[in-house]
């Protein structure tokens, strides 16, 4: 393998989300970037792994330190070497376990017999389940034509409802339904199945098929549910062997995240055109745990109206409250300074159930969240509603580990040099604490700036304070925590017993590209207080069971660990003006906070440049026959400049869009 070039504008160490975003942004404006990682995979703590690899990834020594050869590297007189990596950063509480037998043949043969019968029965029912059925029942392709007015609609609907209310002689619920029906725009919230049909209509040759599929689907559902239940009741179909065989179908996130469909992060993905490297699926429902049951949280307008879990009066109260919060300004809550959001709601005389929905699910808060933060969160939640499906959230297809890679791909396509699996040993600094370069193997590589993941920060630059951690659990289960007639990726927001913390839980199935058919992946993340396993025990005991006869899912495989939460506090302490340390994952549901940090680091290094302007699509790039001179021109062009061809095509694109509007 060839050696690396030795001179760059920017060295980025670690391929976590924030590092990758800075790398992409710097390459995008024409900087010479070396993006280097000591691991042989992308994403660092933000990566996803298949089942086989996740077991080995933590069993290897975690240290990023390699020393071989570094003594041979010559330094200048006033330079010193700092060993890469620190003692503060550590992944702890690692505990992996199987909860099924090792081999298929280990199951006792009487059980296996029942299994055969049941399996045969299932196969039959699957046969009648034509492939198209599968497609129709999928929740994925919600044909949304989002528009900026969706929230306005929401509010309008409330206004209409209030009008109805004043007219009082109309049954409120009926009125509400009428409102929904009357409003054409509300179609974005209609049942996905219907929408698939509409798409079929549009391509009308396969229209009939869809109708048929629908009928088959109904039959299928009737047949299968009963079969599946009885089948599951008699056997444990999975063994370690049968799951491991499909190891590569798993994409298990170290740091699972969902995104607000109109949040800062998604806006950036779209505006920078990095969205072309990512695929998403809608989070189909938000669940919460109330009165001993998991129930879907009514959050969009249509599911508030249709929810059997809120009565007619509560529906009205909830809609009204949400619209009040939406229109509110900070001073509306001045009397709640220092009080919690829950107190604010209690003062509004809401029922405990409504308070539960609002605090834990819509405001993504716990009992101790301040009123102003609660309100802010509600606004954020509502702003992303009505864009896709029934919730404000989307999840990255094939797992969250795709996202850092999307940034890395952009960086590489814009000339970034990538080097994974590198023997990093030292950073080089001068006496004025200026970063000079790093040592990888026997090579000294220099650059004007350093951006590095916190895990690589040298001990000398780390402040020794107590580290906070996120307790994580990953579970492979055999069914959904709440069976639904459609495939739904779920976000479960579950307060702790005392209401003081909120556990974020994501459940995804094979349609999200994270596991094989008939299995589910459940991710839990909570603030660490004792250990990962103890912290999550309550949620595990509540959601799962180890009795195969139970309707709750069985856990087939579990994996606990805790990772440092370095986003809350700054753990670095240094006065190097050209070194920037990226925090690792945080305990937020989404990336908005992290992407802001990336943008801030970029602004500090390149204050005059735009953070990730739109990248051209392939069809906008004209391959110029780069003669030697042209190639040189590119090289000599000012650092911030882009090759001419791109700028030109971008202009063209802009004007084309303008003329369209």
């Amino acid at each position: 393998m060839d050696t690396l070039p030795t001179e760059f504008d920017l060295i980025v160490v670690g391929t976590g989300l924030i590092e990758s975003a800075v790398s992409a942004a710097a390459s995008r404006i024409g900087k010479r970037v070396l993006h280097i990682d000591s691991k042989d995979y992308y994403g660092g703590l933000w990566a996803s792994f298949n089942l086989e690899n996740i077991e080995t990834v933590f069993s290897k020594p975690q240290s990023n330190i390699h020393n071989a050869g570094s003594e041979d590297v010559q330094l200048d007189a006033n330079q010193k070497k700092l060993v890469i990596g620190n003692d503060l950063f550590e992944i702890i509480d690692i505990e992996q376990a199987w909860h099924v037998l090792e081999k298929d043949k280990d199951y006792d043969s009487s059980l296996l017999k029942t299994k055969d019968v049941a399996e045969a029965a299932l196969e039959v029912s699957e046969e009648c389940n034509a492939e198209s059925v599968d497609a129709v029942t999928k929740e994925v392709p919600v044909a949304v034509e989002a528009n900026a007015e969706s929230l306005v609609d929401e509010i309008q609907a409330i206004a209409v409802q209030e009008a109805i209310e004043k007219n009082n002689d109309v049954d409120i619920q009926e009125g509400a339904v009428a409102v929904i029906e009357a409003k054409e725009n509300a179609e974005k919230e209609t049942d996905p199945v219907l929408e698939v049909k509409e798409e079929f209509n549009a391509t009308n040759d396969i229209h009939v098929e869809a109708e048929e599929a629908q009928i088959v689907e109904e039959e299928h559902l009737n047949n299968v549910t009963s079969l599946e239940v009885s089948a599951a009741a008699v056997f444990k179909p999975w063994s370690q062997e049968s799951i491991m065989k499909q190891s590569r179908k798993f994409n298990l996130d170290l740091t699972p995240k969902v995104q607000f469909s109109r949040g800062e992060f998604v806006k950036l993905l779209v505006s920078s055109n990095i969205a072309r490297y990512a695929e998403y699926i809608a989070i189909g429902r938000i669940l919460t745990y109330l009165d001993g049951k998991l129930i879907p949280v009514p959050c969009s307008r249509s599911n508030i109206f249709s929810s059997p879990h809120v009565n007619v009066i509560e529906k009205r109260v909830l809609m009204k409250l949400l619209s009040t919060l939406m229109d509110s300004t900070d001073k509306d809550f001045s009397e709640y300074d220092g009080k919690t959001f829950k107190e604010y709601l209690q003062d509004r005389k809401l029922s405990p159930e409504l308070i539960h929905y609002i605090v834990y699910s819509i405001a993504l808060s716990d009992d101790e969240t301040s009123c102003s933060d609660g309100v802010k969160n509600v606004k954020r939640f509502l702003a992303s509603l009505g864009i896709i499906g029934q919730t404000p959230f989307i999840y990255s297809m094939y797992g969250s580990g795709e996202i850092p890679q999307a940034f890395c791909r952009l960086s590489a396509v814009f000339g970034g040099t990538y080097a994974l699996n590198q023997p990093l040993s030292h950073f080089i600094y001068d006496e004025e604490h200026n970063f000079k370069g790093l040592i990888s193997g026997q090579q000294k590589i220099t650059a004007s700036n350093l951006v590095t993941g916190f895990e690589y920060a040298p001990n000398e630059m780390v402040e020794k304070k107590e580290m906070s951690y996120i307790s994580r659990g990953i579970f492979i289960t055999d069914k959904s925590v709440l069976e639904a007639d459609k495939q739904k990726t779920s976000l479960i927001l579950m307060p702790s017993k005392d209401g003081k913390t909120l556990c974020h839980i994501i459940e995804a199935g094979h349609w999200s590209g994270v596991c094989p058919k008939d299995l589910y992946i459940v991710h839990m993340s909570a603030r660490r207080t004792a250990s990962a396993k103890e912290d999550l025990k309550y949620y595990v005991d509540t959601l799962f069971s180890n009795d195969p006869n139970d309707t709750k899912p069985n856990v087939l495989w579990s994996f606990y660990f805790a990772i440092p939460d370095t986003n809350d506090k700054d753990y670095t302490q240094h006065n190097s003006k050209n070194s920037f340390f990226c925090p690792g994952p945080d305990s937020d549901l989404d990336y908005d906070n992290s992407i802001q940090k990336a943008s801030k680091i970029f602004d500090e290094i390149y204050p005059d440049s735009e953070f990730l302007p739109r990248a051209p699509d392939p069809d906008e790039i004209i391959f110029c026959d780069d003669s030697d001179e042209a190639a040189e021109e590119v090289k000599e062009a000012g650092a911030g400049d882009l090759p001419q061809e791109i700028e030109k095509t971008e202009e063209k694109q802009d004007s084309a869009e303008i003329s369209l509007n």
Binding site: M1, A135, V136, A412, Y418, W511, I621, V634
Partner: protein, 227 residues
């Protein structure tokens, strides 16, 4: 996702002026071109897609792939996406974006630098680990011994065995400079893909969400429009 994959209509469509069931297929295949630094990947792609050759290629900044449209027969048009490894993504693994949805790969080494053949197993290993066809099988792979115009004296022996051992379909001596064997080589892969029907038309129902700036209903397909 990967650029404008969905804008190319993959579903069979009845040609409008003809009510007989005359199907015209427009297919989209994503192929990868992989190999060490300087073996001629970009040259091969440019020669094949645009019939040009230059003695000095810089990476094409910002481009993920080149497209070549091939009229295969009266019924079939193939849009071939050729994915170069981004010029400098070469020290180690490639991103999942690069591998996803790929249907075949051409591994390239340089006849003037026989040591570049030694890297082929490493590239192949990454490819096999990170990609598979929709049916779970390995991607078909061919081996290109490039710069065949320069010298043919030290063609490594045992290339047949090498291919057999590594499960590579076959190998070709190619030249991007003189345009030798590129069509034949690529056609081998296209034949394979067509014959095994390993490509799937991305069907509308299973499509994940694609985030996009403006709604451009190309070929009747709606995109998710966000802002």
């Amino acid at each position: 996702m990967i650029s404008d994959i969905n804008t190319v209509k993959m579903t069979d469509s009845v040609s409008e002026d003809n009510n007989n069931l005359c199907y015209k297929k427009e297919l989209l295949f994503k192929y990868l071109v992989i190999g060490d630094y300087g073996v001629g990947k970009t040259s091969i792609i440019r020669r094949y897609a645009e019939d040009t050759f230059s003695s000095k290629y810089k990476i094409t900044i910002g481009a993920d792939f080149a497209i070549k449209t091939i009229t295969w027969d009266n019924y079939t048009t193939i849009n071939l996406q050729l994915w170069d490894i981004a010029g400098h993504e070469r020290f180690g693994a490639l991103t999942s974006v690069y591998y996803r949805y790929a249907l075949a790969a051409a591994l390239v080494f340089d006849l003037t630098r026989p040591e570049t053949l030694n890297s082929i197993p490493k590239w192949l290993k990454d490819l096999r680990n990170r990609s598979s066809l929709p049916n779970g099988q390995n991607l078909p792979v061919i081996l290109l011994a490039n710069k065949g115009d320069v010298n043919l004296d030290n063609i490594p022996k045992h290339l047949d065995e090498f291919c057999k051992e590594n499960n590579i379909l076959t190998w070709f001596i190619t030249s991007a400079k003189e345009n030798i064997n590129l069509d034949i080589a690529m056609n081998t892969l296209i034949d394979y893909t067509l014959h095994h029907k390993y490509y799937k038309t991305p069907n509308e129902e299973t499509q994940p969400l694609i985030l996009n700036e403006t709604e451009k209903p190309k070929n009747g397909r709606k995109r998710f429009c966000f802002f």
